[in-house]
């Protein structure tokens, strides 16, 4: 087998998982992944020897995910200055309470994490997946997604903030966590 194809095969599970988590409709994951591998194989002459093969592959995979999600205006929003969504989100008192025990919080959220992930834009989700799942640096993510460094941080920040809000809302609605107004009401009664 071609050495190029062998390199893809070695990481096929990792690549597939990324596609699976990135696209909205998981029933087309096989098609999106196949078309990305074929596209990579056809354009293998474009890969510069010695450069980051993994990052190059993720660029192709991400492009295919964008097409599958029909979100073609990926570069429509270039927010070069880091914006402070995430720090605001984690300063929220109700969130702080919910995450006092992170393991318990995650267990309580269960598959809701995946549902919340789907509510993010493809760009936010791609940034999060590349960082949280694949542990790429901000610089590598910027190269993969072909966006400025600051934009990566902003997408990450906003994605994480949305994710945390969704999960906290879920915790309240499902009764795992008391709603802030209930807490306030209870505190008021105690005072009286």
């Amino acid at each position: 087998m071609d050495t190029f194809l062998k390199e893809i095969e070695e990481r096929k599970d990792e690549f597939y998982r990324y596609v699976y988590r990135n696209i909205w409709d998981t029933s087309v994951a096989d098609d999106v992944f196949s078309s990305a591998v074929l596209a990579a194989y056809k354009s293998k002459s474009n890969f510069k020897e010695g450069s980051n093969f993994r990052a190059w592959m993720y660029r192709i995979l991400t492009n295919k995910c964008f097409v599958a999600n029909r979100e073609i205006s990926r570069r429509g929003e270039n927010i070069d200055d880091y914006q402070n969504y995430f720090v605001d989100a984690i300063k929220n008192e109700s969130y702080k309470k919910a995450t006092r025990d992170p393991d318990e919080f995650l267990e309580m959220c269960g598959d809701e994490v995946l549902v919340a992930m789907k509510k993010l834009s493809t760009m936010e989700r791609s940034c999060l997946l590349l960082k949280t799942m694949q542990h790429f640096s901000y610089k590598e993510i910027a190269e993969i997604l072909e966006i400025p460094f600051g934009t990566v941080m902003t997408h990450l920040s906003r994605g994480r903030a949305k994710l945390r809000k969704e999960l906290t809302d879920y915790a309240h609605e499902s009764g795992h966590l008391k709603k802030p107004e209930v807490i306030a009401f209870e505190q008021g009664r105690k005072t009286v």
Partner: protein
């Protein structure tokens, strides 16, 4: 948490800070703030594990992709082979066409090689014998005295023969000019063969033919050599 530090807090969770930056940041945070960042790190790690629990690429899917790539490769190879085949045919056709055009450019009575002329000669090399041959056929023209090198061209006699031109028997003298074949037809002025050759010259064989008047005869110099005109001085009327 101070707003100016937000970027650093974010980078701290992602492990994007250097050791010294981490130390500096941690020294500036309260215990509660630090505890929250540690929690966030845990949450991120937990999220990563959750996301990585997605299924991997099935072996069936990989086999299918591998087959598609093999098919693609074969298609490319066959396309390369076809391209080579087409190129080979095209080259062969171009070569054939080139030689056909070259061949068609000159009628068969224009000599192609000195050897061919030597084979056709009825009398060979000797000037006196050739002059006798010309005279014997009633043509009042003889070969002039010419040096071995004439106008920078090395010229020698090959022989002479009778050839059919436009149905007429015509005396033809054969020369070797710089290794290339040349011949001189001696045709009666305004005769059938003269008119025919004049017409041939007009058609496109101008560069290969020169006509010169030798009394009542026309000497028609024929050669694929560009300087066929050099041969014009080689005959003289008697």
């Amino acid at each position: 948490m101070k707003k100016v530090e937000d970027k650093f807090l974010f980078a701290y969770i992602d492990g994007e800070l250097s050791v010294s930056e981490v130390e500096e940041l941690e020294s500036q945070l309260s215990k509660e703030e630090l505890q929250q960042l540690v929690s966030e790190k845990k949450i991120e790690r937990g999220l990563g594990n959750k996301l990585n629990s997605a299924p991997g690429c099935s072996s069936d899917l990989w086999s299918q992709i591998s087959s598609e790539i093999s098919a693609e490769e074969n298609l490319q190879k066959s396309s390369y082979s076809k391209t080579w085949l087409y190129l080979t045919f095209a080259t062969a056709a171009a070569i054939t066409l080139f030689f056909s055009i070259e061949w068609a450019k000159y009628p068969s009575w224009i000599p192609q090689s000195v050897v061919e002329l030597a084979d056709q000669s009825q009398v060979k090399v000797d000037k006196a014998l050739i002059n006798d041959f010309i005279a014997k056929h009633g043509v009042p023209v003889k070969i002039a005295d010419f040096p071995d090198t004439h106008h920078g061209r090395k010229i020698s006699l090959v022989g002479a023969a009778i050839e059919k031109v436009a149905g007429d028997d015509v005396v033809s003298i054969y020369f070797n000019c710089c290794g290339k074949p040349g011949k001189v037809y001696l045709v009666p002025e305004n005769g059938k063969s003269d008119l025919f050759l004049q017409n041939e010259k007009k058609k496109s064989h101008g560069s290969a033919m020169k006509l010169a008047n030798k009394g009542k005869y026309t000497a028609v110099y024929v050669s694929t050599h560009k300087d066929a005109g050099v041969l014009s001085a080689l005959t003289t009327e008697i």
